[in-house]
C-alpha cells in the first residue's frame, strides 16, 4: 500500500527511524501526501477556508509543511552525524490549534484569530519540538474549545473517520480525527470538560487528560483556566504515555503548574490489573446512557473482573450536579479570559467611531454563536446580584464533587465509567441545541472539576439506532491526583485484553489501508 508508514504506531516509527530503515523526511512526506489526499486541505497553503466536500476529513486548519520538511531534514542530518536524539525523534505530530506555535497560525477555530500568527511558542509546542517530534500542522477545533462536536469552528466541521457523516466529538475533534484517520500517529489536544476524552471515544482511539497542573498552560489560549489541560492522543496506550511523558513538566511560566512530579508512567505499565480495586460509578450508568453503549461497557467490566480486578460499586452523590456546576464555572472563567479579545492589540478589529463600539462590533463579528452564548452566561453568572447563586454556589458544589472522589479513592485504585453517553452523532444533529450538546459531557466533567486524570480507551463498537454501521465506544478510567501512572496501567491491560482494532470500518468510513 502507498501509505504503509501512516498506519504505523509512534513506537514502531521510532524504532524504524532509530534503525535508519526510514528517514524522518520520508515519514513526513508520507504523512503530508496522505493529508493532501484525504483532508481537503492545501498542505502548502494558508489557513484552510470553509469547504463542503462531504468526503474530506478536514482534521487540519493549517498544515505547516515547509517547517515540517525543514525540521525532518535537520533531524536526519543530526542522526547521520551520530548525535544523540530523543526516543521519538522524527515521529510526526498534529497540534491542536489552541496552542501557540511561532510563525504559524493559531486560530482557535475562530474568525477572531483567523489572520494571527503567533510570535512565540507555547511550552507544550516547545517541548514536543525539543523532543524532535515533527509538527505537521494545526488541527481544527470547536471555537476556543467550546463544544463537543468540532462543528463550532469558523472553518467548518471536522468529520469522523469511522463515518464521514458524523461528528468526531470535540472540542479536539481535529486532533482525534487526524490520529484515527492515520493523518498523524500522535496529536496534542486540550481537555476542559472532556475535550480530549470524548473525541477519543467517538473516534476509537486513546486520549488522556493528565492531572490538572502537570502540563503547562503557557501559550495554551485560555478557555477556563482552572480546568484547561493539554494531553495526548494516540492509537495505543503506550504511544499516549510516551507523548504525555514528554509534555508533563513543571513550568515557572504557568503559576498553576504543579511542582510535584507525576509517577513514572512506564515503571508498572505492563503489570496488569490483578488485585486492583476498580470503582464502578453508579451515577454514570443507566439513565441517560445509550443501551448499546451500556452493553459494550458492561462487557468490558466483565473482562476487567476476569483479568483479576475487583469491581466495587461506588456512588459519587454530587456528580449528578457536575454538568450544572461545570456550565457555570467554565463560562464564567471564559467570559473573563475572552475579554482580552478587544480588537486592540491582535486579531480581528471591526472599526467604529468609539473604542467601546469598536470592542463590541469586533467581538460580535469575531465570535461565533456558541462562544457568544457562553460569554453571556458567564458574564451573567458573575454579575452583581447573581454571583452568589451561580458562580459561588457552583464552586462550592465543585468542592463536594472533589470530596466525593477523594472519599472513593480511599477505597479503590481507580474509577471507571463510559466516556460518552452515546456513540458519534450525525453532523448538524445537535449544533443548534446547546442544552442537548452539553449532555455529551456528563461523564467527563466530574473529573475535570476535581482536577484528576482521566483516559479514554476504546473497548468496542456499538450500533446507534440511526446508523448503518457500528461506531466506537470508549471506557473512561479516572485516577487520584498525580496517579496518572495507575490510569495508564489499567488502560494498557484493557487494550491488551480486548485487542480493539482501531481501523475504521463501515460504508462511510475513511479508507486507511
Amino acid at each position: 500500500m502507498s501509505h504503509e508508514l501512516c498506519t504505523a504506531t509512534a513506537a514502531d516509527l521510532a524504532g524504524r527511524l532509530t534503525a535508519r530503515d526510514v528517514s524522518a523526511r520520508e515519514v513526513v512526506d508520507a504523512f503530508l501526501e496522505r493529508i493532501a489526499e484525504v483532508d481537503g486541505v492545501d498542505v502548502d497553503g494558508p489557513v484552510w477556508q470553509r469547504g463542503d466536500d462531504p468526503d474530506a476529513l478536514h482534521a487540519f486548519v493549517a498544515v505547516t509543511a515547509a517547517a515540517a520538511r525543514e525540521h525532518a531534514d535537520d533531524i536526519d542530518a543530526r542522526r547521520a552525524a551520530g548525535r544523540d536524539l530523543g526516543p521519538l525523534a522524527g515521529v510526526p505530530l498534529a497540534l491542536k490549534d489552541v496552542l501557540a506555535m511561532r510563525g504559524a497560525p493559531t486560530t482557535c477555530g475562530s474568525r477572531m484569530l483567523a489572520d494571527w500568527m503567533s510570535p512565540y511558542d507555547a511550552t507544550v509546542t516547545r517541548l514536543v519540538r525539543e523532543a524532535d517530534l515533527v509538527v505537521l500542522g494545526k488541527t481544527n477545533m470547536d471555537e476556543f474549545a467550546m463544544g463537543s462536536s468540532t462543528e463550532h469552528s469558523a472553518f467548518g466541521a471536522t468529520r469522523n473517520p469511522w463515518n464521514l457523516d458524523r461528528v468526531p466529538g470535540g472540542s479536539s475533534g481535529g486532533s482525534a480525527a487526524a490520529v484515527a484517520g492515520r493523518l498523524a500517529p500522535l496529536a496534542i489536544g486540550t481537555d476542559t470538560g472532556g475535550s480530549i476524552r470524548q473525541p477519543a471515544a467517538l473516534t476509537g482511539i486513546v486520549g488522556a487528560k493528565p492531572t490538572y497542573g502537570t502540563v503547562s498552560r503557557h501559550g495554551l489560549v485560555a478557555f477556563a483556566s482552572s480546568l484547561d489541560q493539554a494531553g495526548p492522543f494516540a492509537r495505543t496506550v503506550e504511544d499516549a504515555a510516551r507523548l504525555q511523558a514528554i509534555i508533563q513538566q513543571h513550568d515557572p511560566r504557568d503559576a498553576t503548574s504543579v511542582p510535584q512530579p507525576v509517577g513514572d508512567l512506564f515503571a508498572r505499565l505492563h503489570d496488569g490489573v490483578d488485585g486492583l480495586r476498580i470503582g464502578v460509578i453508579d451515577e454514570l450508568r443507566g439513565e441517560g446512557f445509550d443501551p448499546a453503549v451500556a452493553a459494550v461497557y458492561d462487557a468490558a467490566l466483565q473482562r476487567l473482573e476476569a483479568m483479576g480486578a475487583e469491581l466495587v460499586d461506588v456512588s459519587l452523590p454530587h456528580s449528578r450536579y457536575g454538568l450544572s456546576a461545570y456550565y457555570l464555572i467554565a463560562p464564567s472563567e471564559a467570559s473573563s479570559n475572552l475579554a482580552r479579545f478587544d480588537g486592540v492589540r491582535y486579531g480581528l478589529r471591526v472599526d467604529a467611531p468609539t473604542a467601546e463600539a469598536m470592542n463590541a462590533a469586533t467581538r460580535a463579528a469575531g465570535f461565533g454563536p456558541e462562544v457568544r452564548r457562553r460569554i453571556m452566561i458567564g458574564t451573567h453568572a458573575l454579575s452583581s446580584g447573581y454571583y452568589d447563586a451561580y458562580y459561588l454556589q457552583a464552586s462550592k458544589v465543585r468542592t463536594l464533587i472533589a470530596r466525593d472522589f477523594a472519599a472513593a479513592f480511599a477505597d479503590v485504585d481507580v474509577l471507571v465509567s463510559p466516556t460518552s453517553p452515546a456513540v458519534a452523532f450525525g453532523l448538524g444533529e445537535q449544533a443548534d441545541d446547546p442544552r442537548t450538546m452539553y449532555r455529551n459531557d456528563i461523564a467527563t466533567v466530574p473529573a475535570s472539576l476535581a482536577g484528576i486524570p482521566g483516559i479514554s480507551v476504546p473497548i468496542g463498537l456499538a450500533a446507534a439506532a440511526d446508523a448503518q454501521d457500528p461506531l466506537p465506544v470508549g471506557l473512561q478510567i479516572m485516577a487520584p491526583l498525580l496517579a496518572d501512572d495507575v490510569m495508564y496501567r489499567i488502560a494498557w491491560a484493557v487494550e491488551q485484553d480486548l485487542a480493539f482494532d482501531t481501523t475504521p470500518v463501515g460504508a462511510r468510513a475513511l479508507e486507511v489501508a
Binding site: T211, G213, R435
Partner: protein, 104 residues
C-alpha cells in the same frame, strides 16, 4: 431564572458584544434554558462548604527573579489588527478609536 430580552441586552453590554433586538429576543429563551439547567446547583446544601477554585492548594507562586528577554517590540506590534489594509500602529503604539467623547 428566566432572562428577559432587556436583561440579555444588559448582559451583552457588560460583555461588550454588539447585539440587535432580533438576537436578544432569540437568545432570551435559549439562555434562560441553559441557566435553568445550571441553577440545579441550588439544590445542594452547601452553605458551610469552602468554594473550590483550583485542584491544588498552591499559594504565593513566584518564579526566580531572573531577567529574560521580552518579545521583540516589532513582533508584538506586528500582531496589531489591520483595518482597510492598514496595520493599526502609529509611532510604536497601538492605534485605537477615541475613548473619551469629543469636547463641545
Amino acid at each position: 431564572m428566566a432572562l428577559s430580552p432587556d436583561e440579555v441586552r444588559h448582559v451583552a453590554r457588560l460583555a461588550r458584544l454588539a447585539i440587535d433586538d432580533a438576537e436578544a429576543d432569540a437568545l432570551a429563551p435559549m439562555l434562560s434554558g441553559i441557566l435553568g439547567d445550571a441553577a440545579r446547583v441550588a439544590e445542594v446544601a452547601a452553605d458551610d462548604v469552602v468554594p473550590m477554585t483550583h485542584p491544588f492548594d498552591l499559594a504565593d507562586i513566584t518564579r526566580g527573579d531572573d531577567p529574560v528577554p521580552s518579545l521583540p517590540r516589532d513582533a508584538v506590534l506586528g500582531c496589531a489588527p489591520v483595518v482597510n489594509g492598514q496595520r493599526q500602529v502609529d509611532q510604536d503604539r497601538f492605534m485605537v478609536p477615541r475613548i473619551v467623547a469629543e469636547e463641545g
